[in-house]
C-alpha cells in the first residue's frame, strides 16, 4: 500500500483508496450478513424457492422450460430479495444503530457507504445468476447467447436501479421490521408486472404501458433478448440488430437510474428520527 497518492499514479491513488474503503466496509457487511441467519436464508434459499415456484406456475411469461427464462427469473428474484430487500433492511439497521452517522464522520463518502453496504448482496445475487446461467447451459440446453453484452448491461443496470431504490426506500422504513411492509410495493409491482409469471399481453393496454415503464420488466427483457435473441413480441433478431431492439429498454433503465439517484439524494436519511 502506498502511503501517499503522490507515490501512486495520478487518479489510481484516489480511485484505489476509494475501492479500498468500500472493500473494507463490504467485508464488515459480509461478516454481519453471515451472522444473520434470517438474512442468509433470504439471500440463498429465497431466490431458489421463488424460481422453482414461478417455474411451477401453469402459464408463465418467461418460458420455464427454457434456460433463458430461468436466468431472467433468477435475475429478477435476486435483484428484489438479495439486492433490494436485503439492502433496505441492512441500511435501516445500520441507521438505527447510528452506524451510518458514525461512518459519515469518517473518510468514506456517501456513495462509498452505499456501495460498500450493497456489495455483499450484489455479490450473492450475481453468483446465483451465474449459477442459473450455468444451469441453463448444462441442464436446459441453452445455446450460445445472442448478445452477452445486453445480458450484462441488463444485470448491471438492474443492480444500480434497485440499489438506489433501496436507498430511497429507507426513508419510508422506520425500523427493520417495517422493511417487510415498506418494500412490498416495489417487490409486488416488479414481480406481477415484470413479465415473469404472466406475459405482458395478459394485461389491459394501460397496464401494459405501465409495465413497459418499469425497471424490472426491462431488465428481464434485456436478459432474455441477450440470451436468446427473442424479443418480447416473439420476433427473433441477431447480431447488432439486438442493440436496436434493446434501445427502449436501455432508455427506460437509464431513466430509472436517474430517478433512483434523485430519490436517494432527496429522501435517504442517515440518522434515526429523534
Amino acid at each position: 500500500m502506498s502511503t501517499t497518492s503522490a507515490s501512486a499514479g495520478p487518479g489510481t491513488g484516489a480511485a484505489g483508496a476509494s475501492v479500498r474503503r468500500m472493500g473494507s466496509l463490504a467485508r464488515a457487511e459480509a461478516l454481519l450478513l453471515r451472522r444473520n441467519p434470517v438474512a442468509l436464508l433470504n439471500a440463498f434459499v429465497g431466490p431458489l424457492a421463488a424460481v422453482l415456484l414461478l417455474g411451477a406456475l401453469p402459464r408463465t411469461g418467461a418460458d420455464p422450460e427454457s434456460g433463458a427464462g430461468i436466468v431472467a427469473t433468477m435475475t429478477a428474484v435476486t435483484l428484489l430479495s438479495v439486492v433490494y430487500y436485503n439492502l433496505v433492511t441492512a441500511l435501516v439497521a445500520r441507521r438505527e444503530e447510528l452506524v451510518l452517522k458514525r461512518l459519515r464522520s469518517g473518510q468514506l463518502g456517501d456513495a462509498e457507504i452505499l456501495a460498500g453496504a450493497a456489495a455483499p448482496g450484489i455479490a450473492i445475487a450475481w453468483m446465483q445468476v451465474v449459477v442459473a446461467v450455468a444451469a441453463g447451459f448444462l441442464v436446459f440446453g441453452m445455446g450460445a447467447p445472442a448478445n452477452p453484452v445486453l445480458v450484462l448491461t441488463g444485470a448491471l443496470a438492474g443492480t444500480a436501479v434497485f440499489v438506489l431504490l433501496a436507498a430511497a426506500s429507507t426513508a419510508m422504513t422506520r425500523s427493520v421490521e417495517m422493511a417487510q411492509i415498506s418494500t412490498m410495493p416495489v417487490v409486488i409491482v416488479s414481480l406481477v408486472l415484470g413479465g415473469l409469471p404472466f406475459p405482458l399481453d395478459v394485461w389491459p393496454e394501460p397496464l401494459q404501458v405501465l409495465a413497459r415503464l418499469l425497471p424490472m420488466t426491462r431488465v428481464t427483457e434485456l436478459v432474455q433478448l441477450g440470451l436468446t435473441g427473442t424479443t418480447t413480441a416473439g420476433n427473433s433478431v441477431a447480431g447488432l440488430a439486438t442493440f436496436g431492439e434493446a434501445a427502449p429498454a436501455l432508455l427506460v433503465l437509464v431513466l430509472w437510474i436517474v430517478l433512483g439517484f434523485l430519490g436517494y439524494r432527496r429522501w435517504m436519511r442517515w440518522e434515526p428520527r429523534r
Binding site: L31, E97, S105
Partner: protein
C-alpha cells in the same frame, strides 16, 4: 507506514497538569508557525455560528445562536455547558457533519462540510453515541475503520492505548457502556489525527478508565495533537483545558483559561465565631454577607485580599476567634453553576465575539 505514529503509545506516570500545559505553551511559542507557514492561531475558526433545527409546526429551535471562538494548534479547548447548551450542535458543524445555518467555520482553513475530503483525513471524531454494528467484534470494528483511513495506526496498538486489548475478540453488543466509549475513542485516534474532536469523552466511564482516557488525551497533546472536546465534567475541563468556553442556551457566556473563567466569580470567605461577646461583625470592604446563621458566616468578595485583611484586623482588635476560617477563590464549578442558574446574563465575553441582534 513507519512515520505515522508520532504520539507516545506508552503510558508514563502522570505529571502535574500545569507543568505539562506550560511545556506545551513553550512548544507553541517555539513553533510559532506551522509547516505551511500559516499562523498558529486558529487551526479551528468559528465565527458567528448559528444552527437552527426546523421543527414541525413551530418556527424551529435555534440550538446555536451566534458563537465565535478559535482553537490554536496544539492546545486543548473545552466547550462546557449544561445539557442542551448547544455544545454538540456546535461540534457537529465543526466536524463537518452538518452545515451551519449561518456563520462560518474553518478547519485548517477549509469549510469542513463542503471540503470534507480535505479535512477528514486530518481529523478524528468521537461522537456522543458510538454507532458500531452490534454483531462485530472489537477487532473487526477497528479493522473495518482502519480500512477506510488513509494512514491508520496498527489495530492492536490503538486497542492497547484505550485499554481494550483484552476485549479484542468480544462482540460489541457485549461491551459495557464505558468500553463502548473507549472503542469510540480508539476509532477517533486510529487515523493519527492532527485535530481530535471528543464529544463527552469520559461520560459513563468508571474512575479508572476516566483516568486512563485523560492520560491518553494528555499523551496526544504532548505529541502535538490539537483537541476540541465537550464535557460537563468540570474537573476534567480544569485539568485538561488550556482554554475553555462555557455555553448556555446556544451562546458562549464565558471564555478564557480555566483560571480566568473561575476568576470571573467572587471569592468566598467562611468562618465560625462566637457572637456572644461585645464585638459585632463590621462592614467589610468588598465583602457581601451571603449566608449568616448564628455563629457561622459566609462572605462573597471580589477583592479577597482586602476583605480578608479587614476581617483579620477586626478579629485581632476585638480578640475574636475565627474558627474553621476558609478563604478561597472561586472554582470553575462556581462559575459554571452561576451560569447554569442563570445569574449571568448571556452576553459575549472574551473572544466569543460579537452577537447579531
Amino acid at each position: 507506514m513507519d512515520d505515522i505514529c508520532h504520539c507516545p503509545s506508552v503510558r508514563r506516570s502522570p505529571e502535574p497538569m500545569r507543568s505539562a500545559s506550560a511545556h506545551r505553551r513553550s512548544w507553541l511559542d517555539a513553533e510559532g508557525m506551522d509547516d505551511k507557514g500559516m499562523d498558529n492561531n486558529g487551526i479551528v475558526e468559528v465565527r458567528d455560528l448559528r444552527r437552527r433545527f426546523s421543527g414541525r409546526g413551530t418556527r424551529g429551535f435555534e440550538a446555536v445562536r451566534g458563537v465565535s471562538f478559535s482553537v490554536r494548534r496544539g492546545e486543548l479547548y473545552a466547550l462546557l455547558g449544561t445539557n442542551g447548551a448547544g455544545k454538540t450542535s456546535t461540534l457537529e458543524v465543526i466536524e463537518g457533519l452538518a452545515p451551519p445555518t449561518s456563520g462560518t467555520v474553518r478547519v485548517f482553513g477549509h469549510d469542513p462540510f463542503r471540503a470534507r475530503r480535505a479535512v477528514r483525513p486530518r481529523i478524528g471524531i468521537m461522537l456522543q453515541e458510538g454507532g458500531f454494528p452490534a454483531d462485530l467484534t472489537v477487532t473487526e470494528t477497528v479493522r473495518m475503520w482502519a480500512g477506510t483511513l488513509s494512514r491508520p495506526r496498527p489495530v492492536d496498538q490503538v486497542l492497547d492505548l484505550v485499554g481494550l486489548l483484552h476485549r479484542a475478540r468480544v462482540g460489541v453488543k457485549r461491551l459495557s457502556g464505558g468500553e463502548r466509549r473507549r472503542l469510540d475513542m480508539a476509532i477517533a485516534v486510529l487515523g493519527d489525527p492532527e485535530v481530535l474532536f471528543l464529544d463527552e469523552p469520559s461520560a459513563g466511564l468508571d474512575p479508572e478508565s476516566r483516568q486512563r482516557t485523560r492520560q491518553l488525551v494528555r499523551d496526544l497533546l504532548e505529541g502535538g495533537t490539537t483537541v476540541l472536546l465537550t464535557t460537563h465534567d468540570l474537573q476534567e475541563a480544569e485539568q485538561l483545558a488550556d482554554r475553555l468556553a462555557i455555553m448556555h442556551r446556544g451562546l458562549i457566556v464565558r471564555s478564557g483559561t480555566p483560571a480566568e473563567v473561575a476568576g470571573s466569580q467572587p471569592a468566598r470567605v467562611s468562618f465560625a465565631w462566637d457572637p456572644g461577646g461585645t464585638a459585632s461583625l463590621p462592614e467589610l470592604p468588598g465583602g457581601v454577607v451571603e449566608a449568616s446563621q448564628p455563629g457561622t458566616v459566609v462572605l462573597r468578595t471580589e477583592t479577597l485580599q482586602r476583605t480578608l485583611r479587614a476581617l483579620l484586623d477586626w478579629a485581632g482588635r476585638h480578640d475574636v476567634t475565627l474558627r474553621d476560617l476558609v478563604a478561597r477563590p472561586a472554582s470553575l464549578e462556581q462559575a459554571f453553576l452561576a451560569i447554569a442558574e442563570g445569574e449571568v446574563a448571556a452576553v459575549p465575553s472574551g473572544d466569543s465575539g460579537r452577537l447579531a441582534a
